[in-house]
């Protein structure tokens, strides 16, 4: 038995509209009468809404209705003051997004600075980043990756849709293992013996350490 495609389309429309969060094809299929072609319904719906004030978008592998991008100027009342991420946090988020799964040490290696306290925490707390597991290397460091909330926030259907990721990968710029014998000094290594909490090691250059952190965390 096949269902009327128009009916399927209407059902999907109503479900997506009513839902508080994006729905996956499976979520939809479960709610729809048996035999409904969800994929086709979504495609029809997508076409019907193209260019309208509301659009059908795929984020994190799920579907949602959202207002058209070009109408953002109207939404002054709905706009929420976003939590402003520090430059360090933004860069860390980008590195995690493009390199995941990635360890803290690898993030630091790309940035050339030790991750300040608060940078990763903020991302974890905001739910943009999550711990994924552990790298199977000595020390078994924890790896980080992005969450569905990250994809939803930036309106990305999948991680493959990250801007420029294909080009970066092709250019080898996303490889985490640097070429063998790479020996740019690791200035952090020099301080490894000291406490990892940089707030305490003020004895070397007190004002600077202080300033530096104030700056990094001043978000």
């Amino acid at each position: 038995m096949t269902l009327d495609p128009l009916f399927t389309q209407r059902c999907i429309e109503a479900l997506l509209f009513a839902a508080a969060e994006p729905l996956s094809v499976e979520d939809l299929a479960k709610r729809l009468p048996e035999g409904a072609d969800v994929g086709a319904g979504l495609a029809d719906l997508h076409a019907r809404y193209a260019g309208q004030g509301i659009e059908l978008a795929q984020v994190a592998g799920r579907w949602r209705f959202q207002t058209a991008t070009d109408l953002a100027f109207l939404m002054t009342e709905e706009r929420e003051e976003p939590r402003r991420l520090s430059k360090a946090a933004q860069e860390t988020l980008a590195i995690i997004a493009y390199h995941q799964p990635v360890t803290r040490a690898e993030i630091e290696a790309v940035r050339g600075v030790q991750a300040s306290r608060g940078t990763l925490d903020v991302l974890l707390e905001l739910g943009l980043v999550r711990m994924r597991g552990r790298r199977r290397t000595p020390g078994r460091p924890v790896t980080f990756g992005t969450t569905d909330a990250f994809l939803e926030h930036y309106g990305l259907a999948t991680l493959g849709d990250l801007p420029g990721i294909a080009e970066m990968r092709a250019a080898g710029l996303l490889a985490l293992d640097l070429p063998p014998g790479f020996t740019v000094p690791d200035p952090m290594g020099l301080r490894a013996g000291e406490d990892e909490d940089p707030l305490e090691d003020g004895d070397e250059a007190p004002e600077f350490a202080q300033d530096f952190l104030g700056d990094l965390e001043g978000r």
Binding site: A19, A20, E21, L23, E26, K30, R64, F65, Q66, T67, T69, A72, E78, R79, E80, P82, S86, K87, A88, E91, L93, A94, A97, Y98, V110, R111, G112, V113, G127, R130, M131, T147, H153, Y154, G155, P163, G164, M168, A171, L173, L178, G181, F182, T183, V184, P185, P187, M188, L190, R191, E204, A205, P206, F208, D211, F212, G214, D215, G218, R219
Partner: protein, 274 residues
Amino acid sequence: MSTGFQPTLDFEAAHAAAEDGAALVIDIDGYEGPLHVLLALARSQKVDLLQLSITRLAEQYLAFVQQARRVRFSLAADYLVMAAWLAYLKSRLLLPKPERPKAEEPPAEEMAAQLAFRLAKLDVMRKAVEALKERPILKRDVFMRGDPEAVKIVSSTRFEGDLYALMTAYITQRKREHGRHYAPRPPQAYPLEDARDRLRDLLPEMKDWTTLSGVAPVERWEEDPDGPSPASYLASTLSASLELVKEGILEARQMEHFSDIYLRTRAEPLEPII
């Protein structure tokens, strides 16, 4: 927010200044570390980062560090380490190659290429940050339905919670556990001395047999619930009465096990039993 420093790292300004030829940006607060400074300087060469002139970059960086030190006497070790390494790399690049390169060190050109590669890596991440900002961001550019019908469609096999939440849940409890202290209050006892004194005062009134529970000041417990318990009043009074019996000024008797104990002042005191 610290007001004394640039709250948002102003890379645009640094970048622009670096582009005015050899102009150096002294405000190192604008940078997070040596690699970020190097990247800003490298961009001023306006070439593909992988085609960078490392010797020129090294010179620019050394000049930067020198000026920065003039402005601010103490400069973080990272900057100095990088400066020393770049000076070394530059000299190796300029010097004629030794016939037999030292085995433990890669050729200088390779090290230079790797530095360029590393800068390129940081550069693409910088660009990625900008590209992400251009995305239609939820609640800034695009909006979900303002008033969903409060129907949350979550399949029953899916549930929320990630490792961070799990860790947080665990550690909050462990911390609570450490903050939790069990401090039992030592039970208050009715002092034997007080019981004895009180009983002596009561002696004149105890010509007739009186029950122990009638004598013990049990009702005090109601006035002072934090004080000794009724059992303690009873026990101390019993002990005190036995002492007085021993002294020969009080009589005590009990008809059978667990029945009431009666007390009475002895009309004629006996010789104390020693």
